[in-house]
Amino acid sequence: MKVTTINGNEPVRKHSLFRPKKVADLVLIAVLLIGSLVMIIPFIWMVITSFDWGARLKIPFPPRFWPEEFSIKTYQMAFTNIPMLKYMINSLMVSAGVIIVSLLSALFSGYAISKLKFKGANIVLLLALSTMMIPFEMTMIPQYLMFAKFKLLDSYWSFFLPSLNYAFGTFLAKSFIDQLPGSLREAAIIDGANEFIVFLKVYLPLCIPVLATMIILQFLAVWNDLLWPLLALKSPDKYTIQLGIAMFSYNKDLPLPSVIMAATTASLIPVIVLYLFLQRYIVESIALSGIKQ
């Protein structure tokens, strides 16, 4: 065990992760390892099967972790039989629009509830949060009928408009902004800034961690959504990625497992890229909220 001191004060004992001191640590590591394998093995199987031309007609049984016939034809099929690239671009466009609309809504409302302290602010927050208790399956039919009446079906407005209500984002933004000192606002107002400038120039730059969290959450929600795009969209040219993946069982007798795995693996790439860029901010956001508490 290495002992160091900081500025001649009490010794600080360092424990290495790779030298567990107790049996309990070993057991914990074993359990975590098993848990990790359970999580990661299906993902590995998915990627391997996506390159297995021999698995295109049936899922191999027993499951195999090496392709019987390695081929990128499955990916070629995924991108030619269905216009996968177009669908990915469509999903990116929808995600971008939804993220912009929902973030603006969440940040403005979160700031207002947190800092402006108007009468009934808590009731507004409570009402917004209460909408989260209603499952989408209950609202999808009236929502569909409403958009049909406004002739907004088969357009991306049917995605952007509902995202104005991002209650969870409002809650996240409000909780985060609560931790930022109100004196910043007071000082800015004394200097002559209006509320919008205070929000834009003082608080928004400080909200990067929570912004990152909301971006990734909204991106995942939109990227993975199948039900609402299925109902709202008619023209195949406007379909999103999940609809594209769902198209693959065009013949009920041919489930095409390896092609579906190829399409699914390809669809994960933007999500992974986004997470790679934003994970630092997400971790910061979690860490900051922990320290403040």
Binding site: I59, F61, M77, F79, N81, L230, S249
Partner: protein, 457 residues
Amino acid sequence: MVKKLYLILIALLILTTAACSSTSSTTKEASDAKVVSKVKGTVRVSLAGWQLESGIDPITGIDNMGLKDFLKKEFEPRYPNIKLELYQVPWENAQAKQTAMLKSGDVDVLYTGGAFASQWQKQGLLKGLDQLIETDSSFDPGIYLQGVWENSYSTKSFDKKVHFGIPAVLGRRIIIYDKKLFDEWGVDYLSKNPTPEEILETAKKMTGKNPKTGQKNYGIWFDGKALNASTFVALSYAYGATGGEGTLDDLKNIKWNLNSPEMVKAFEWLKEAAKYAPAGMLNTQGNENFGLEKNDIAIHLDANGASTMGEVLANKNTKLLDRFESTLNLGPNGEGWVAVDPFVMAKDAKNVKASWEVLKFLTGPITQKYTYDNFKNTPTLKDASFVSKDDKYMKTAMEIAQVSKSTLLDEADPFFGSEIVPAINGFVSKARNGNAPDIQSYLDDLQKRAEKWSANQ
């Protein structure tokens, strides 16, 4: 830096994959088709599961033609004034999406599952086609398999008075057996129209350790989780277990007979047969190698032959074609459950004349040949000379469709789907695990539930 590297690598992967893909059209030859109709209009067509873009055949790995290219080549010259708007819907969610489209008046013509179509017909969402058929001398219903045209709930109303659908694609449910395993076990091949007893006796003889290879073999496979209980439906034909008397347009007055001696026989067969099937059958698994070199199952009920034909087409492995033989289904004339996917017309189709022309074309011989050539869909035509002579499985399926009729035990029957099928699958599961309940009491309970259900209609 590392993240940027990841991004570059991933972008390269996407670009390479997209670049490797080919979107070239397969319309190499121009059609010499003449104009069939000058009817004008826009027709909105919703298709469950069709491939619109040209791409790669998953079976053979060679290029196939998407529907858009086919329509350009064959439909547009014949119907130059009809504009088609195609809406593609995934199979898994087809019912929800297409029901929404019908109710909001967003579609004119639909291709869908037979069970969905029969429900929509009952709900009054579809147009009856009889008047259109009678007034159009160019349309000949005689080109379709008679059993499918006259007796299927997927195309004709429950009271048999109204044609609402034109059959387009047939589902294949045939019996296929492995002659190689039969030879290894020294068992006689199945007859052309085997009885349930013959199947059971044969399966019993071939379950266990193969005397030649030492490999574990199973005598039989059937789907223990089928949503349509197709094996049970075939047994009902064999044993005369009709399930009751009445019609599906008068659910209140159905005289159910679900606990008859014939039904008991069918369940006894299931109980016995479950012992000779792999455990995976309870989850529609265990048959992944059937039809291929490594097969270990002697008899496969409700098979479609897709794996074998896939190997034959992709790798020219004709030995498999000789090895895996097909027979008719279990009914006395070879009947079994027949899935039919039809084209139907919405009740408030905007342009009925144009929609009718589209309906006729998409169910006609030209389109059925196209879907057979490119996707190996089973046609619904009496004379399907374009089916390869090697494709014996498809021919057997069409023979079965010619003789089969829908009964009360059909997925079009709401009680069948909601109560009878779970009861059958539940029973098979318990039987496979050695806990089969007393069959008569089980069926008595089902009978009571059926009577109560009908009384509440």
